[in-house]
């Protein structure tokens, strides 16, 4: 079932490597479309060459109908697809501003990267500006914080707004887009005559083939609605367990590879907890923040003893999830209490004893208690999203 990553086909580091490969093709197509050169991009806004519009909407339509088909035949779980959250006002104002920046610089961030690779210094300067602008945003952020989260409408999609299923919406968008394409070409030709220069080169055969393919796929998508699919509910994740000794070693050796979350009550957690663990707060007793945490680390959950239930947000965590076998009690017994020397000193027993006493010394000896780390309530926007909304 796709999306593959959402169903644990591979981990985040593999995803990053695959991302480079996909980015490669993205850059290749952008360059092939001519978007590595500001002149081609800016011509859109003077009406001479509507290729920005044509490429962008063709891409949107293609991806949309593609997902419609895959979703319709049950090959893709559309509910597992990440939908950018709508924050209407900042997106509109940001969009207008981006349009201004686009016109002035001649690039947008992605095309500026391609232009840099093509050898245009103006692309490099645009990227430098983008860096500065991002920094500037951060400095201004405190003043904008309220506006930044205004107009929130959740993962609102046009399908909900119009009350139509995805493939139908996709077909409508396809037909509208094609109408706009022909309109755009008309405008191009009209302006070419008026301004007395050649219109952009046309290849009606290729155009018709591409657009025809899109319409065909859109129709297929609508047809696929008739195909009965067993709606496969997102499988309840099987949460693996990890034992206390392994967790203790992980904390010592690679603390930055794990998030440890204490699912006990806030008071118990603040009083004492596993070193480095995040506590739940009153505002977020169900650990809803887990769903949004970046998936670069393994998540380890623990309760007082064995975990009975796993919060729903942990189901949505994109990385690997483990539950601590035996919970805090097991950790206490294994590591926090002084180990007894083995009665029967076999090599394995001695090795284990050495290990546990070293861990015991680490956790209870000179290691000082870190101040309580409160988990952030969901209201604070976590900016660290993986792709999707840029």
């Amino acid at each position: 079932m796709t999306p593959f990553y959402a169903f644990d086909a591979f981990d985040y580091t593999t995803a990053m490597v695959l991302g480079t490969i996909l980015g490669f093709f993205f850059g290749l197509v952008l360059e092939g479309s001519g978007f590595g050169k500001a002149e081609n991009l800016i011509n859109q806004f003077y009406g001479d060459d509507m290729r920005v519009f044509k490429v962008m909407f063709s891409a949107i339509v293609t991806a949309m109908v593609g997902m419609g088909i895959l979703g319709g035949v049950g090959l893709m779980d559309l509910s597992a697809v990440s939908i950018p959250v709508t924050y209407l006002w900042p997106q509109i104002v940001g969009g207008l501003l981006l349009g201004v920046g686009f016109a002035v610089s001649g690039y947008c961030p992605g095309t500026a990267v391609v232009a840099t690779g093509t050898g245009y210094v103006d692309g490099v300067m645009t990227l430098a500006g983008i860096l500065a602008g991002s920094v500037a945003f951060g400095f201004v952020y405190p003043a904008l914080e309220g506006f930044y989260v205004s107009g929130e409408m959740g993962n609102l999609q046009l399908t909900e707004l119009m009350g139509l299923p995805w493939p139908v919406m996709a077909l409508i968008v396809t037909l509208v887009a094609i109408g706009c394409f022909f309109g755009a070409e008309y405008v191009e030709r009209w302006l070419a005559v008026r301004r007395d220069h050649a219109p952009p080169p046309e290849a009606p055969a290729v155009r018709n083939a591409s657009l025809g393919a899109m319409v065909a796929l859109a129709l297929l998508g609508v047809l696929s609605l008739a195909v009965p699919t067993t709606t496969e509910a997102v499988a309840e994740r099987d949460i693996d367990t990890i034992d206390a000794l392994t967790l203790a070693q992980q904390i010592v050796e690679q603390p930055t590879e794990v998030y440890i979350v204490d699912l006990r009550s806030a008071e118990a957690c603040v009083a004492e907890r596993i070193q480095g663990a995040l506590c739940l707060t009153e505002e977020d007793p169900d650990a809803a923040f887990l769903a949004d945490m970046p998936a670069t680390r393994t998540l380890v959950l623990y309760g007082e003893g064995d975990l009975v239930g796993v919060p729903a947000s942990a189901q949505q965590y994109a990385g690997a999830v483990f539950a601590l076998e035996g919970g805090y009690a097991s950790f206490t017994q294994a590591v926090l209490e002084a180990p007894t020397p083995p009665a029967n000193p076999t090599p394995e027993a001695v090795a284990t004893y050495r290990l546990t006493s070293e861990l015991h010394g680490y956790f209870t000896g000179t290691a000082s208690k870190a101040p309580p780390i409160q988990a952030r309530p969901k209201a604070v926007e976590r900016k660290v999203k993986k792709g999707g909304g840029c």
Partner: protein
């Protein structure tokens, strides 16, 4: 080192075919990961990484940037950073293979201005782009293309706003380009 210009750069792809290809790449991204393409997070994270080196305590405590470096995270260990590295490579290979690569650094500008003006405008425009992309939580790749493909309302609003903003600005800066 041989000639500095290319004999004949290949013609651009047909926009509809290119769009179709781009749509397939976008689709593949969604199929593989459940999210789509993007660009603007990468320069942001680069900036945050630089700031973390220069002023780590300030960055960690910052309301906006703190999230990127929370818990000792490296802001550059992110999918989009590596995707953008890929975009860079793709642009290079595409430009070189088609003969469109500029063998010595070039400046693409309108006929009426000099390179200096153009580069200043590029930088200024870039600042606006960077700021706006953060405000809108994305840019044309991330919000318009990616969000548009999944019919997100805010992304469509963003997309329309971008075109509106650009079309509105264009007449005032004709000198830059025409």
């Amino acid at each position: 080192m041989g000639s500095t210009t290319n004999a004949e750069p290949a013609p651009y792809w047909n926009p509809y075919a290119a769009g179709f290809a781009l749509g397939l790449v976008l689709l593949a991204t969604y199929v593989l990961f459940g999210w789509g393409l993007g660009s603007s997070s990468a320069p942001t994270r680069l900036a945050v990484a630089a700031m973390d080196v220069v002023a780590p305590a300030y960055t960690e405590a910052h309301g906006y940037w703190g999230a990127y470096v929370a818990g000792g995270e490296n802001p550059l260990q992110d999918w989009m950073v590596f995707e953008v590295i890929g975009v860079f490579f793709g642009g290079i290979v595409g430009a070189y293979s088609s003969g469109r690569m500029q063998m010595s650094p070039a400046v693409d500008k309108g006929p009426r201005i000099g390179s200096g003006t153009r580069l200043t405008a590029a930088f200024a425009g870039g600042i606006i782009l960077g700021f706006a992309a953060r405000l809108a939580r994305g840019c044309t790749s991330g919000q318009a293309l990616t969000g548009g493909a999944v019919l997100a309302v805010g992304s469509w609003a963003f997309m329309l706003a971008v075109f509106a903003g650009a079309y509105a600005t264009a007449p005032f800066i004709r000198r830059l380009w025409r």
